[in-house]
């Protein structure tokens, strides 16, 4: 069977599975729609949370980023997993005990104020909508590359599928499709990694393979990689940090706090039956996430090794000098996978010195020795450009794996994007129908009416996000930073103070959220333009790029969170303390006894 047919069958089967689950798990009540009836087993919820959390970015882009960054890429690994420790201990069990459907309803009730809840809704919508654009573009890209249809058709098909199971199934349908999507995406990620690890190191477990020696050599894979990349003028793989140590520190912290504060992840913990289950469920979520996240660094380093091995076979597997005349392969004799990816424009070769061979090295290095060797060899600059995003997608082809593995990776990429999109849509629609329509505009709406409003809000959100995916505003890459920044600087501190500071009042919480939001937006917009409009950035005003102690805008969420805490406590000191009943409510939230199924009562 040819590759294209195999991919159609693989992706088709996975979609049939998702739709089958959607028909089986229709939501009839608001409790099923918002919280899957509160009856999801903690392990099941852990698996659904893992799929909800791991997006197209985790699946497609992360290993490629680590491959280019080396050691510094560890900030994504630590940041996106360490947040679960915070979520499990500081937020999830208490929000489960509180027992309402949404994050803004906790903030509204705890801070006894409709305005606080409305601010939370705005933060939630901004974070979730910016996040979803990237997922929709990811769906389009995956479709167009694997199914040979245009990116537009891909997005329409993706919208249709999500519509079917998210609108009719609500949280219940989403939960069970996410479980299926987790299975598909984790197989798609680990199967090629196992094969590649086996080929390079003889060890089938990628996590151990990364710490092993290359086949037939007495040098470890990482030591060899360090040697080769420094020889080619790149930074040493195992020590190159992301910017300064301070930036890496703050970046990691921002991702951790942001992860814990993202509403579409938090609300998954409303679906388990008890407080006890919420605690263990976070552990299970991290187990399922870790299977991918501990494989990713192996995929990253091995892909880098394989890439260099493809171009200069002798350099990796024996000890040939990369600068010797015959080391690099001839362009005409390059493998088929390179030809396939050249068509997408994500892999480019330009023969700068006209010798018909591919030279891959860091031509911007400041190391005079490398530059001298390159000049002596007659090199005129790096000739191969590889987009980081193809590392995972092209991995099975680079390792010459069978067609069914490539089909599996296609289905896995789509599963990762669709499951996260569905979780985000759920967060958006519940904030609109439950917190805005029922909470503010139409408090007397019937349960049936609210369910209908929820479904309409979801359908509208799908159309808007699809439209944004089709017409990406040219800032898709910068928006994920914004989503994390907002979650870290507004929602996380507000929820945490709501639980851990009995005396925190509404004035403090609102001032904190607004200050955190303002300072984060200011710093991000200074770098990327006001609302990401080109040409409106104002870097000179703040003294140049990364002017705040060399911290990049992506890493600024932790600073925003600190501002939030400081402002909140300062305002809290000079305003009057919360009413007695609120303090009693905090007491009640802190103990597990008396937890009940989540409901929508206001």
């Amino acid at each position: 069977m040819d590759l294209q047919t195999t991919i159609y069958i693989g992706v088709g089967l996975s979609f049939a599975l998702y739709i089958g689950i959607a028909i089986w798990a229709r939501a009839g009540t608001t409790s099923e729609f918002y919280a899957a009836g509160g009856s999801v087993h903690p392990v099941t919820n852990g698996m659904a949370t893992a799929a909800d959390w791991m997006s197209a970015a985790s699946f497609i882009s992360m290993a490629g980023l680590i491959s280019n960054m080396g050691y510094g890429g560890g900030l994504f690994l630590m940041g996106w997993t360490g947040g679960y420790v915070l979520l499990a201990m500081l937020l999830a069990p208490y929000l489960r005990k509180f027992g309402k459907f949404t994050v803004p309803s906790f903030i509204g009730d705890r801070f006894y104020s409709k305005s606080a809840s409305t601010i939370a809704v705005i933060c939630l919508l901004t974070a979730s909508i910016t996040y979803i654009i990237g997922q929709m573009t990811g769906v389009g890209v995956a479709f167009s590359r694997f199914l040979g249809v245009s990116s537009e058709v891909g997005i329409y098909v993706g919208m249709g599928i999500v519509f079917l199971y998210a609108v009719f199934g609500g949280m219940k349908g989403i939960t069970y499709t996410q479980v299926a999507q987790y299975v598909v995406l984790i197989l798609a990620y680990t199967v090629p990694a196992v094969f590649i690890s086996l080929q390079l190191t003889g060890n089938p477990v990628p996590q151990l393979g990364l710490g092993s020696s290359l086949v037939g050599q007495d040098m470890s894979l990482l030591a060899k990689l360090d040697l080769i990349v420094t020889d080619l003028g790149f930074g040493k793989y195992t020590t190159t940090t992301a910017g300064s140590t301070l930036n890496m520190f703050v970046y990691t912290l921002s991702l951790m706090i942001g992860t814990a504060g993202l509403p579409h992840v938090i609300m998954r913990f409303f679906t388990v039956p008890s407080v006890k289950d919420a605690r263990s469920s976070a552990g299970w979520a991290l187990v399922f996430i870790a299977i991918l996240y501990t494989t990713a660094p192996a995929v990253a380093a091995m892909a880098k090794t394989n890439l260099i091995r493809t171009i200069t076979p002798g350099v990796v597997m024996s000890n040939t000098d990369p600068y010797a005349a015959e080391s690099a392969i001839k362009f005409d004799e390059r493998p088929d996978w390179m030809k396939r990816w050249e068509k997408t424009g994500l892999l480019k070769f330009t023969d700068k010195n006209g010798d018909g061979r591919i030279q891959y090295y860091n031509d911007k290095t400041k190391n005079p020795e490398v530059l001298k060797k390159a000049e002596a060899a007659g090199w005129k600059g790096n000739e191969l450009d590889v987009n980081a995003d193809i590392i995972v997608l092209a991995n099975p082809e680079i390792a010459l794996l069978p067609n069914w593995v490539i089909a599996l990776v296609a289905a896995g990429g789509l599963a990762a994007a669709l499951s996260t999109a569905a979780g985000l849509l759920m967060a958006i629609s519940s904030a609109v129908s439950h917190d805005l329509i029922k909470g503010v505009f139409m408090p007397s709406i019937s349960e049936k009416g609210e369910l209908m409003a929820g479904k309409i809000a979801m359908a509208v959100a799908i159309v808007i996000s699809g439209w944004l995916g089709l017409n990406p505003p040219g800032f898709a890459a910068g928006t994920v930073a914004l989503a994390f920044g907002i979650a870290a600087s507004t929602l996380f501190p507000a929820i945490m103070m709501g639980i851990f500071s009995k005396k925190m009042n509404k004035e403090g919480a609102m001032a904190g959220m607004l200050a955190g939001l303002a300072v984060t937006l200011f710093y991000v917009f200074a770098h990327k333009g006001i609302f990401f409009i080109k040409g409106t950035d104002f870097l000179p005003m703040i003294g140049g790029a990364n002017s705040f102690f060399g911290i990049t805008p992506e890493a600024f969420g932790a600073i925003g969170a600190m501002v939030n805490f400081i402002v909140a406590f300062a305002v809290d000191k000079v305003t009057k303390e919360p009413p007695e009943r609120i303090q009693a409510m905090v007491e009640a939230v802190r103990i597990p006894r008396g937890s009940k199924a989540v409901d929508g009562a206001h």
């Binding site: 680590i66 050691y71 890429g73 560890g74 900030l75 690994l77 630590m78 997993t81 360490g82 679960y84 420790v85 499990a88 201990m89 500081l90 069990p93 996590q207 151990l208 990364l210 710490g211 092993s212 020696s213 470890s220 894979l221 990482l222 030591a223 195992t238 020590t239 140590t245 890496m248 520190f249 990691t252 912290l253 008890s274 407080v275 006890k276 605690r279 263990s280 976070a282 552990g283 991290l286 187990v287 870790a290 996240y293 501990t294 660094p297 007491e587 802190r590 103990i591 597990p592 006894r593 008396g594 937890s595």
Partner: protein, 85 residues
């Protein structure tokens, strides 16, 4: 639940959280970032140790921490008789 036992329960909870957060900080920000260069002088198989903490070890410790937390919290709940039925 009396005020005394309620504040003792909360103190026990906060003590547990503090202990776990110290380990959480030490494995990621400590071993994975601040002391990574120092730890890279040691090796775990083919892994330099600091690199291992940043890209593997901290994640394993996080998992252990959450399950340890879940277990200890259940014990504390029972000790102060505030567990769910």
């Amino acid at each position: 639940m009396s005020t005394d036992s309620s504040s003792a329960y909360w103190r026990a909870t906060l003590t547990l959280l503090t202990k776990i957060l110290i380990v959480w900080f030490l494995v990621s920000f400590g071993a994975g970032i601040l002391f990574a260069d120092l730890l890279n002088n040691f090796h775990l198989g083919g892994y330099p140790l600091g690199f291992w903490f940043a890209q593997q070890g901290s994640i394993y410790v996080f998992i252990i921490l959450i399950f340890y937390y879940a277990k200890k919290m259940n014990d504390i709940d029972r000790q102060f008789d505030v567990h769910e039925d």
